[in-house]
Amino acid sequence: MKTDRLEEFIKANREAFDQLEPSEKVWENISKPKIKTHKISMINYFLRVAAVITIAVVFTVVITKTSLFKQEEIAVQTEDPELRELVEAEAFYASQVNEKMDEIRKCYDTFPEIKEEVETDLTELQEMYDVLKIDLKDNISKKAVIEAMIENNRFRLKMVDQVLDQINC
């Protein structure tokens, strides 16, 4: 077979066919800290949770407002154990996040690209938190709202932890 010469030649010289070398930038790009991709998926998850809660709150508001029984407005009482827990959690997470953010801010010079990402993400989380605060005032599905608020705090801490781990500076 004439063309088998070609097959045999290629098989015999297989390694010589791998002559090209990739440039250095390929590894540089692979080894870059990939903060964004990881975080986006977590934020998406959180957005989904927040969306479900918002829908639940809206739904309950509609049901309550249209019901025959006009409930008396219940004042938010600070002695409520759930609320107290929220206040404590808020203080705890805020101090932790602030402490870690101080560390991260020191690295902005080394990793300028993370500055905008981290700050934007924190602002987004704060905006979500503000919405939840309004929901809390409505005093509907209170337990779910408080859980979401604590989850928001927890998420913030987790995010700054991850950023700190990954920048490692």
Binding site: K2, T3, R5, L6, A16, F17, L20, P22, V26, W27
Partner: protein, 193 residues
């Protein structure tokens, strides 16, 4: 699948792979060093473009490091990685939604048959064959490269490229003939010069 040359080093690399699974960045670089050249050439032969090949090599390695946890040493690491590299390249091609250009049989009839008589005399060189491969239509080039250089059989190629096994076989035969023809043309061309 035919015996994979990269397979013979797998046991030596086991410790490196294990370290990479534990997130050791230095060992990841070692693993990259060991396989990047071979994998880059796989990418290049599919994409026929250096820049695209580099982008896809980067994407494939990033994916491989992410999926590394799922690698259980059941197959050779080289074969496992190569499959990721090939799938990444083929997916990139598919995203463009342009069908693979196969080698048209009509091209054969345009060529006089006497070329075949001179086949024995065609000088085979790595550089010549590489150049000839670059001139092949995309489909034929990828099939030729997957079969002869990457060691896949036509059944596997048909799955990778979503074509029939007989298309893979006939395209491979045509690719081989075209390469001989191109080498022939190059030879005559160089005499004319």
């Amino acid at each position: 699948m035919k015996v994979n040359k990269l397979g013979q080093y797998d046991d030596i690399h086991k410790t490196i792979i294990e370290a990479c699974k534990n997130g050791d960045e230095r060992q990841k670089y070692q693993l990259y060093k060991l396989y990047s050249k071979a994998m880059f050439n796989v990418c290049y032969r599919i994409m026929n473009n250096r820049e695209e090949a580099e982008d896809l090599l980067q994407e494939a390695f990033t994916q491989a490091f992410m999926k590394l946890e799922s690698y259980r040493f059941e197959s050779g690491f080289g074969a496992w990685l190569k499959r990721i590299v090939i799938n990444t390249c083929i997916n990139a091609k598919n995203k463009r939604k342009v069908e693979l250009t196969l080698i048209d049989e009509m091209q054969r009839f345009d060529q006089p048959d006497q070329d075949d008589n001179n086949e024995e005399e065609v000088l085979l060189t790595v550089a010549g064959i590489t150049k000839a491969m670059e001139k092949l239509p995309e489909g034929g080039r990828i099939i030729f490269s997957l079969y002869l250089l990457e060691g896949y059989d036509h059944g596997e190629i048909s799955q990778i490229l979503n074509i029939t096994e007989s298309t893979s076989k006939s395209q491979y035969m045509r690719a081989k003939r075209r390469i001989i023809e191109i080498l022939q043309e190059q030879k005559t061309g160089s005499y004319e010069n």
